[in-house]
């Protein structure tokens, strides 16, 4: 079965106003401590922690990274700049690994 993804390459730049959707080959499973994404195209799985799962959940609800940040600022005590950078980096990695695509 699939092996864990090794995503140590630099992420693609993700525009904050761009909406995203999950790739059709990706399936999702919520776990107690996050979630697992399985890409049936490549057979590779990706783990998300709880915060990453929240970002993913909001993104596939057709929210833009900017909108994701707005929602998460209400939920987390976090510096807006740090949050925006973390969301941008995660979106870039998800895009780079073929899990997300622009709509």
């Amino acid at each position: 079965m699939p092996e864990r993804a090794d995503s140590n390459t630099s992420p693609r730049h993700a525009s904050g106003a761009q909406a995203f959707a999950a790739s059709p080959s990706v399936v999702f499973r919520q776990m107690d401590d996050g979630a697992v994404l399985l890409d049936l195209e490549s057979g590779v799985y990706f783990g998300l922690d709880e915060v990453g799962t929240r970002v993913w959940t909001l993104l596939v609800e057709q929210k833009t990274p900017d909108a994701v940040c707005q929602v998460m600022l209400d939920e987390f005590d976090v510096d807006p700049g740090v949050l925006a950078e973390d969301v941008r980096r995660l979106v870039g990695e998800l895009q780079q690994n073929g899990l997300l695509r622009t709509t």
């Binding site: 080959s25 999702f28 697992v36 994404l37 399985l38 049936l40």
Partner: protein, 166 residues
């Protein structure tokens, strides 16, 4: 005590003509899928296996489904391929769909020893068929749609600050 060969001979004598057809189909599918899995993405292979239209057909009873699913395993005992759960599930679904049974391949994941992720694939038709690996122990993956995410997501809102309770 009966030898392994004698036990096999006994099992083979009980195979009906229809079941021989299932065995032959299973062997052909197993070989074809082995080649396909080496050349094509899994999603493409899944689409080909599950693409057959099966709606509106009468469904065999549960015992027949399980018998067919068990027969599908037999060729894997002689073919030089790894009999992984994914390969067996794909062939089971292919054979069942040829009989117009709306079976699908399901994928699941569970945590082993508290941290290590373990994956499993199985043929499903209103419940796992030929459930030798205990599919119920695995949490099945769902297609990613906003509705599915909303249904599955468990997210606790942040605790109210102490002064908010006053």
């Amino acid at each position: 005590m009966r030898s392994g060969a004698a036990a096999w001979a006994g099992r083979i004598r009980r195979v009906t003509a229809r079941e021989w057809v299932v065995l032959a189909e299973s062997a052909v599918f197993a070989i074809g899928l082995e080649v396909a899995l080496r050349l094509l993405p899994l999603s493409t292979v899944l689409g080909a296996v599950q693409g057959r239209h099966v709606a509106g057909s009468p469904r065999p009873d549960r015992a027949s489904l399980e018998r067919i699913a068990r027969l599908v395993r037999w060729p894997f005992t002689v073919l030089p391929f790894r009999a992984t759960c994914l390969r067996i599930a794909l062939v089971q679904v292919a054979v069942l769909r040829r009989r117009r049974v709306p079976a699908t391949v399901r994928f699941g994941v569970q945590r082993r020893n508290g941290h290590e992720l373990e994956f499993h694939a199985w043929a499903d038709c209103d419940g796992a068929i030929d459930d030798q690996a205990g599919a119920a122990a695995y949490r099945a993956f769902e297609p990613v749609t906003p509705a599915a995410i909303t249904r599955n997501a468990r997210w606790l809102p942040p605790a109210a600050p102490p002064d908010a309770a006053a």
